[in-house]
């Protein structure tokens, strides 16, 4: 059994939509091969050698089986883990009005004001549990089973926190309305003075009695701030060792226990002589010591030995470092691993548990440097594989990681080779929204190679889009360098976290589905890329009319097709006739060049030159970049010539694009007294779109 999904209704930041979180399955290691081999008598060598224990196909890929919850701060990441923890480990006394979503409460208040009393405040969690694993016991979940659930292999459990006395609540509300003193604050007061109860409901909302979520779920929450204690690691290691000792009855443990017994007997003797007798003498003076007496016993045990008397020392480069001096980053990592070990150790050998085990790791990036974050998933993966290879166990808990580290996100994507089970949270009008990213959704409009491209292209910088307020994708080097300068000067954009991603060669379109799932405003800046004949190229012919012209830009063709404009042939959408100055597709705004000073520029550089033909900074930059061409075109301050030679500039600059943009950026930053060149209109409009979106979202 494992937790498949969770729907959060009216809990804290979550209201009644976009509130479904999906979880990855925990996997089992199949150890058949190894076990079969060891059946041969005398073949002991095989079992003993560690290297042989796991062959590659037996390894678990933790990255694939880990659920990630990512998103900006205040987006509702922690709420998800808290919801799970509250359901399983919390008590009803912890529940209060602050756990109920405020927009929901406000809706209820409005309803009451209008005389509709069909609802009382509640919070509900809907858990979908996969039960397709035939070996699990059903006694815990029998009340939720239908024939359909057996066929589909899943059940729904609803956990509802609702008023204990609904009618009393409503009657009190009615009285308050009658007295004219009802408002949101009164409602909240009333909620806090009312008792709540938890109810478990089946799919049809019928109450299931005699059920406790605690019997079905176990959840361990590991967060960075639990690592504070000096010997927190020792404690968790001790637990592991006692589990092992109790279960496996190792020879060594038995020896230690024997030693303890002997020690206790010896100590008792000493105690009797030096301590018990004097005490009893005093005692006897008051009460006859024939009837009563005192004996001192040594009470040393295996547990007390572990808990208080064994020191954990890390060895690093042959130096022994005490726990308290060990780096917090490593301690954190070890804490996580030791919790995993604890889980594996404490469950009976080879059991198919009737429980679902969750380990929620909150923001493991705390105290870790970027490289360590990048390796986080891989380290955990290695540790688990090693652990499983050393024990008879073959089951691991379901892991959930909340993070705002692009490194950890990226490492999950790279290790798993997949985007599956990344739950992306964000905040809109003070309500949390969550979307589960799926490979199948991202790749639905693109071919296999392009999907592979996304995964490979996704690195630290690209993963950043999961944490941004807005995303700009540019296809050229110049835009990539210059845009941040303009964003910094925009009053709205600079307040938000706008990430600029560079995706050369008109590949922005492959991100389309992913970006649509992220739902933040996106600006794709691409080029018109008008198809020209070789002759036109040689003569630097400028384009004044795009009627019957075609584009070579793949991104443009893709969005033309989406918007179903300019279909030329059965499969083509390259025609440029009748196009708008931009294309909008859901949250994505695609910007490309439009007519500037009579000409259609085909690239950013050409548009920039046409827009700012007489600007000092531009002319200075052009001169610095291509001195000879500049003199040939502009001659003596005849800036107008820039206009009529824009395509020539474009062609001439094409070998020196990097140099041009570097020079331009340098001049922009150093010549602030000069008038700043304007962004070409298509980009300026695009940025306007972004700032409008961000402004309205506030």
């Amino acid at each position: 059994m494992y937790l498949k999904s969770l729907k959060i209704l009216n809990y804290r930041k979550y209201n009644n939509e976009n509130n479904l979180i999906h979880f990855a399955k925990n996997d089992y290691v199949i150890k058949n091969q190894y076990e079969q081999k060891s059946n041969y008598p005398g073949d002991i060598t095989h079992c003993k050698s560690k290297e042989d224990k796991i062959t590659t196909d037996e390894k678990i890929n933790i990255a694939k089986n880990t659920t990630l919850i990512v998103g900006k701060n205040n987006g509702g990441k922690t709420t998800i883990v808290e919801a799970l923890d509250f359901m399983v480990n919390g008590t009803i006394n912890d529940f209060s009005s602050k756990d109920i979503n405020y927009s929901f409460l406000n809706n209820i208040r409005e309803k009451y004001d209008r005389g509709i009393f069909d609802e009382t405040p509640y919070v509900c969690f809907e858990l979908m549990v996969d039960i397709s694993d035939q070996n699990s016991y059903i006694n815990n979940i029998a009340s939720f089973l239908t024939r359909e659930s057996i066929i589909k292999g899943e059940i729904t459990i609803k956990v509802k926190y609702c008023l204990k006395e609904e009618m009393l609540f409503l009657e009190t509300v009615k009285q308050k309305i009658k007295d004219g003193i009802f408002n949101l604050l009164e409602l909240i007061d009333l909620i806090d003075s009312s008792s709540f109860k938890v109810m478990y409901l089946n799919k049809e909302d019928k109450e299931v009695k005699d059920f406790k979520l605690k019997n079905l779920f176990e959840i361990v929450k590991i967060s960075a701030n639990t690592v504070n204690g000096e010997n927190s690691l020792s404690k968790s290691f001790n637990k592991i060792i006692s589990y092992r000792a109790k279960q496996q009855k190792l020879q060594e443990t038995e020896q230690i226990k024997d030693n303890i017994k002997t020690f206790n007997v010896e100590t008792d003797k000493l105690l009797k002589k030096d301590y018990s007798e004097p005490v009893n003498t005093v005692f006897g003076a008051i009460i006859s010591n024939k009837k009563m007496g005192m004996n001192l016993h040594s009470n040393f045990s295996f547990d007390s030995l572990l808990n208080n008397n064994i020191q954990y020392v890390y060895s690093e480069n042959q130096n022994e470092i005490p726990e308290s001096q060990f780096g917090l980053g490593y301690t954190n990592l070890f804490m996580i691993i030791s919790n995993l070990i604890e889980y594996i150790e404490k469950n009976p050998v080879k059991s198919f548990s009737s429980k679902i085990n969750l380990i929620a790791i909150e923001e493991p990036e705390t105290y870790m440097h970027p490289q360590m974050q990048e390796l986080f998933i891989r380290n955990i993966n290695e540790a688990i594989n090693l652990l499983l290879s050393q024990s008879q166990k073959n089951i691991i808990p379901q892991m959930i990681i909340t993070t705002h580290s692009t490194h950890i996100l990226n490492s999950k994507i790279q290790e798993a080779g997949s985007f599956d089970f990344i739950n992306y949270t964000h905040d809109k009008n003070n309500c949390a929204y969550v979307t589960t990213i799926r490979d199948s959704d991202i790749s639905k409009d693109i071919d296999k190679d392009e999907f592979i491209f996304i995964k490979k292209h996704m690195k630290f910088q690209t993963a950043d889009m999961f944490f941004a307020d807005a995303v700009i994708i540019v296809e050229g080097d110049a835009e990539y360098k210059i845009l941040p300068y303009y964003i910094q000067n925009d009053t709205i954009l600079k307040k938000n976290y706008v990430t600029v991603l560079h995706c050369g060669g008109a590949h922005a379109k492959v991100y389309d589905s992913l970006l649509k799932q992220l739902k933040v405003p996106v600006l794709i800046i691409t080029d018109l890329d008008i198809k020209r004949s070789d002759e036109e190229k040689e003569k630097f012919v400028q384009i004044t009319d795009i009627e019957d012209r075609e584009t070579t830009n793949e991104t443009l063709k893709y969005y033309f097709e989406k918007a179903d404009i300019n279909k030329t042939s059965l499969n083509g959408y390259e025609k440029l006739s009748n196009i708008n100055s931009f294309i909008k597709s859901e949250n994505i705004y695609v910007a490309y060049q439009s007519k500037v000073n009579n000409y259609y520029p085909t690239s950013f550089e050409e548009a920039f030159i046409l827009t700012n033909f007489d600007n000092n900074i531009l002319n200075k930059t052009l001169k610095e970049t291509k001195r000879n061409t500049y003199i040939a075109i502009v001659k003596k301050n005849k800036y107008e010539n820039n206009k009529d030679n824009s395509f020539k500039w474009q062609m001439k600059l094409s070998e020196d694009k990097g140099k041009f943009s570097n020079n331009l950026l340098f001049n922009l930053i150093t010549n602030e007294q000069d008038s700043i060149p304007k962004l070409p209109e298509y980009i300026a409009n695009g940025l306007k779109f972004l700032s409008e979106q961000l402004d309205s979202g506030e």
């Binding site: 035939q134 006395e165 609904e166």
Partner: protein, 669 residues
């Protein structure tokens, strides 16, 4: 229609509510009499709300609850629904409630059980001392007891075979006395069985120190200390009468006790509540007992009907309500006439006119055509169904699609002679009233139907003790094997069940549960039919083949009240507490075979109403309950000659229309 409230009537209604609240505030017991459709349940719920609003905190602190006793589980869930979440109210049937408290003291019931056993033994003693057994009583009792097993083995065999064996054993000639001998010996054996139980109780043997109530059984099993509904009521009322501390537990736990539909409740319950009230009075504790109901709606033989205030609840206040919230004024008018007592209802609505009541006369052959006309005239569809009440059980069965099945079971030797029990034991929608074989059929068909419904939760058809131990794999096996779609008669089902129970332990355990036995053997179903229906051994196969599976399913839907048709058929009794837009009542002079001229007599003597005549009151109540189900359209079709009664019928219903008038379909008349 039904849009404008009459403010005067509303004021009257509010005043009645205030009266109820006053009783509650002053801790006075009351009887709230309200006719059909008066919003009695509304008043009950409002009374509970009133208590909760004022007393909830204190009651929670004292761990006290309001007890609300309903007659059926359906009524209980309706009230629970209206109340929403609350832990201050316990809504339950009297049996559930009694058992929930008495269960903890069930060893205290043993003395009453002993008494009952002794009575039973006395009965057997009376039978066997009858002079007709004089010759047979020469047989030595010890010999009889010693040869019990052989006796039951040969019990069903023919007389020649039986006599051959037992003349040797008993040592007396048996020719022509076989039947008498069988009767005598089986009574001796039964008596012996109970005596043994008494011994076991006396010796406090394991399993004989407590009495258990089994809500799923409709008959007692005295020998295994298990009792059913009626006996629970009998024991508890005696227990409460005898014991101070159990009275105290009730009074301390439930300072407010409300009884819904009090007229249907057993007289023992009223007596028992009266005991509680007197006890509370004697120890100066406060208790409010409120009865909500209508004596004119008592249609069950075991219902108390009226509360005799000379005997019980002497000082209680009677609060009557004469407002109607359900029906059109045309229907209310007729209902008032049928009742013919001090309750004269008026509608709460100003615009309550617009209903229709029509009385037709014809004969049984015309029912079909009559219904066709009604369907057309009243624009009947599945969304606007016609509810047809019938007095004739076999007609209800016929029209509901299980006529053959009904007749087949009625023709079995057991039911052939028990025609007065057929309606209740075969057609009751209250499962607790079904007969033993029908109950088995019901449980079995329920398992088959529900386990094939993919949305149904297994807990509704697999008993707890089974699903708690079952594995996922077993459950999957059960589902894969539970497929009866291709079967068309009962024999095929039974044959298949035999194979399934031999193969799968889940099936075995489920059948054990349904049949209430510890072991499933090959001929168990045949034995059951022989025992419960007295069907002859040679006819059992034929009986099972003749029981049509599809009809059994239709019967099950009828019992469950889940028919999805445009015309839905009901017995008069099963419509209690319900309301429908369109009602057609088909009735005639008699009610079944036993109550000849039951209805006719009521119409004949409508004027000079004799209130002491049980039958007249029963007939009046039955007609009153039936006609007051209608909200808007009510049509009555009388299938017998009305020449003797047409004066009174016209007096009540206004006019009688010959069937031919009702439409073009009846040209031939």
């Amino acid at each position: 229609m039904f849009e404008k409230i009459n403010l005067e009537a509303l004021k009257e209604e509010e005043d009645i509510l205030k009266e109820l609240f006053n009783c509650i505030n002053e801790h006075k017991c009351f009887i709230h009499d309200a006719g059909a459709g008066a919003g009695k349940t509304y008043n009950l719920v409002e009374s509970i709300k009133h208590i909760i609003y004022n007393e909830q905190k204190l009651m929670e602190y004292n761990n006290q609850k309001i007890l609300c006793i309903t007659y059926t589980n359906v009524a209980a869930s309706e009230i629970k629904n209206r109340l929403g979440n609350t832990s201050t109210v316990l809504v339950s049937t009297i049996h559930e409630c009694l058992w929930s408290i008495i269960e903890k003291f069930n060893e205290e019931l043993v003395p009453y059980h002993k008494l009952k056993l002794q009575n039973e033994i006395e009965k057997y003693d009376n039978i066997i001392s009858d002079s007709k057994y004089r010759e047979i009583s020469q047989i030595d009792n010890e010999t009889i007891i010693a040869n019990e097993e052989i006796f039951w083995e040969y019990y069903k065999s023919n007389s020649t075979e039986f006599n051959e064996v037992f003349e040797k054993i008993y040592g007396i000639p048996l020719s022509r006395k076989t039947t008498k001998c069988k009767e005598y010996v089986s009574n001796i054996l039964k008596k012996n069985k109970y005596s043994k139980v008494l011994d076991s109780i006396g010796n406090k043997e394991l399993g004989f120190t407590k009495v258990f109530y089994d809500a799923r059984r409709n008959v007692d099993n005295l020998a295994t200390m298990r009792i059913s509904h009626d006996t629970l009521l009998e024991y508890s009322s005696k227990f409460i009468e005898d014991s101070e501390f159990i009275k105290r537990i009730f009074v301390d736990s439930f300072p407010y006790i409300f009884v819904d539909e009090y007229q249907d409740t057993n007289a023992l319950v009223v007596k028992l509540l009266n005991e509680l009230k007197n006890y509370a009075l004697s120890v100066n504790k406060e208790i409010v007992i409120g009865f909500f109901g209508d004596s004119a709606q008592n249609i069950y033989d075991d219902g108390v009907g009226k509360i005799d205030k000379n005997q019980f609840f002497k000082n209680s206040k009677v609060i009557a309500k004469n407002i109607n919230r359900r029906s059109a004024s045309e229907i209310i008018k007729i209902a008032n006439k049928v009742r013919n007592d001090e309750i004269i209802q008026k509608s709460i609505y100003q615009d309550s006119e617009g209903g229709e009541v029509r009385f037709y006369n014809g004969n049984l052959d015309e029912v079909d055509e009559f219904l066709t006309v009604c369907k057309e005239e009243l624009k009947i569809s599945k969304n606007n169904p016609l509810h047809c009440f019938m007095l004739l059980n076999n007609e209800i069965a016929n029209y509901s699609g299980f006529g053959n099945m009904y007749n087949l079971i009625c023709q079995t030797p057991y039911y052939k002679v028990r025609y007065d029990q057929r309606a209740t034991e075969l057609l009751s929608k209250d499962i607790t009233k079904l007969g033993q074989f029908p109950l088995f059929l019901y449980k079995l068909i329920k398992l088959i139907v529900l386990s094939n419904n993919e949305q149904e939760f297994i807990t509704s058809y697999i008993p707890r003790q089974i699903y708690e131990e079952i594995t996922f794999e077993e459950l999957t096996l059960f589902f894969n094997s539970s497929n009866f779609d291709e079967f068309y008669n009962f024999k095929q089902i039974i044959d298949s069940l035999k194979i399934l129970s031999a193969k799968y332990s889940v099936w075995r355990r489920l059948l054990q549960e349904i049949l209430d036995v510890n072991e499933i053997y090959d001929s168990i179903f045949e034995d059951l039919i022989e025992e419960k229906l007295r069907v002859d051994k040679d006819n059992i196969d034929n009986f099972m083949t003749s029981l049509n599976f599809d009809e059994l399913r239709k019967w099950y839907t009828f019992i469950e009240d889940k028919q999805n048709e445009d015309v839905i058929y009901h017995t008069f009794h099963s419509t209690k507490g319900l309301e429908f837009d369109n009602v057609v009542i088909v009735m005639g002079d008699s009610f079944g075979r036993i109550k000849k001229n039951f209805i006719k007599d009521f119409f004949i003597r409508y004027d000079d109403f004799d209130y002491d005549d049980e039958n007249l009151i029963q007939a009046r109540n039955l007609i009153y309950v039936a006609i007051t189900r209608a909200i808007q359209n009510l049509r009555i079709f009388y299938i017998d000659d009305i020449r003797d009664i047409d004066k009174n019928i016209t007096e009540i219903f206004g006019s009688v229309e010959p069937i031919s008038k009702s439409s073009k379909y009846f040209k031939k008349v």
